[in-house]
Symmetry: C2
Subunit: 338 residues, 2 copies
Amino acid sequence: MSVSIAVDAMGGDRAPGEIVRGAVLGAKEYSDVNLILVGDQRLIEGELCSSETKNIAPEAKKRIGIHHAGEVIQMGESPALALRKKKDASIRRAAELMAKGEAECVISAGNTGAAVAAFTLLLKPLPKVLRPGIAVSFPAGKSVCTVIDVGANIQCKPIHLFQYAIMASVFSHYIFGVENPKVGLLNIGAEVAKGTEVLKQAHELLSRSNLNFVGNVEGNDIHTGNCNVIVCDGFVGNVMLKLSEGLSFHILDTIEKALEAEHPEALEDIRAELDILRRRNDYSEYGGAPLLGVDGLAIICHGSSDRRAMRNAVRVAREFSKFQVNKHIVAELASFDT
Amino acid sequence: MSVSIAVDAMGGDRAPGEIVRGAVLGAKEYSDVNLILVGDQRLIEGELCSSETKNIAPEAKKRIGIHHAGEVIQMGESPALALRKKKDASIRRAAELMAKGEAECVISAGNTGAAVAAFTLLLKPLPKVLRPGIAVSFPAGKSVCTVIDVGANIQCKPIHLFQYAIMASVFSHYIFGVENPKVGLLNIGAEVAKGTEVLKQAHELLSRSNLNFVGNVEGNDIHTGNCNVIVCDGFVGNVMLKLSEGLSFHILDTIEKALEAEHPEALEDIRAELDILRRRNDYSEYGGAPLLGVDGLAIICHGSSDRRAMRNAVRVAREFSKFQVNKHIVAELASFDT
């Protein structure tokens, strides 16, 4: 069984160069991946002929196609407006390929708002799913912590949070191999009575379920390893994501500058640790952020994605399909009778 | 004009030792401060006779009093329950002193939830204030950024957010000397149309005001210096506070361990930078977190507060009183006719 993956070749700060190269790396690595590069045909062909990608084996070449799209939504554009105006935008065309069943997965590192809007507009939710949610994964202790939602749904009902817990638990299990993922509800204290009415009701739903619910958790638990899944509304999730990224960057940058002049050898020696810390917030390590709950697989990558990030996204897309994660999500949701 | 400050001598991980010592340091430094140490009389007297505090000049000694309270609310206790049960708790007695006008300020490093509950229960709001908010200040670029609210009010109306902006602007101006503080509204993107209905309405109120409103800002702006005041609801603010603290600790700890064994000299040389980074999240640097909007001044300090933190809190309490910050807050609120 092969997997067809549509890649928005024009989306991202380093598109199309790094996007095409990374996607091609993925196609070379996995002989069951069919790639559809969506975007400006001439530019994509140029990239495929570049020194780094031209030596593709004929076998792999057969599995790489181009789907032309004449427009691009830029990073700074208003998502809703741009999507309405640019009917031939690469992200829209890529999502359409999935909606029509011509691709099982779509990956984009472009304008995040436009990607989320295109996916939610064009893709059907899975049966019983009320709101799809974006899941971002971080290293946490010796394991991985998946935070859902980080921006698709900024005002959640208790049932939305409950469904996020189910979907992310399935994802964590099949993609990261976590047995019985520990689920935490993001709150401002451990006590059951903490937080808004929505959170109290979500707490009750989670407590009554057979999920491995560990109760309320706090902001710092993303990094402690106390849980594998953290459930929150998309507003708080998005704020956390940006704060983590900005704060880490600032701290690491300050330390590098402090060591650079007087202690270059020390800096070199701890470079590996610094890189690990830097990548904590780089969710491309985990193949980007999937929009869980849609029929198919939509993966949102960071705007700064390079070839490594795209190759990781291709790998996760393939595993998601191989392990039939959506089928398991549907079965779990049905068993909870939500 | 002297300033009377009630200190919850029993609150905090290092109470009563460090709390009493720090408060006494403040009283020694400022000859117009009258200190009321609230808590177990015998324990406090013991601390006052310790080697570090016994050499208090007679002049200063006259300005240090003890108000006995027989109970303590521990850090892990449920705030609401503990406050109801422990009528003679030190935090409650300290708040009562202020409510009765016997102190102009109360400082506590104890159970935060209990402190907020005691203050909101016992202290009157200032005229026109709908909800008091906790303000926490961080170093930001070359200036200071004050985030309000970080936990007093987890479901805000637009008018609450608007009042927070006014109160924190006055605070930033008088306590940190910021001319015309730049005010940002925490959101998940810069566009006006971003966020919940509450945020959109708050955006409009702020835009129409004569505050120095710079528009929507994001999580990472706490540290960039783009604004001096960030307004958010207490849920998001609290999550940010804990995430910042946990993440910074983790990163700095990892780097220290990486350098320790092989490059102790490099570690020593960047120690000053590491300490500055560590203190970014230590709001005791700025004298604790005031609950703005109550009649008087209630300062919440971090549970880990040491003598330096307490001395800073005494200093800020004194300045708050000297500069008549509450009088300015009342005048500003009145001028906006909210």
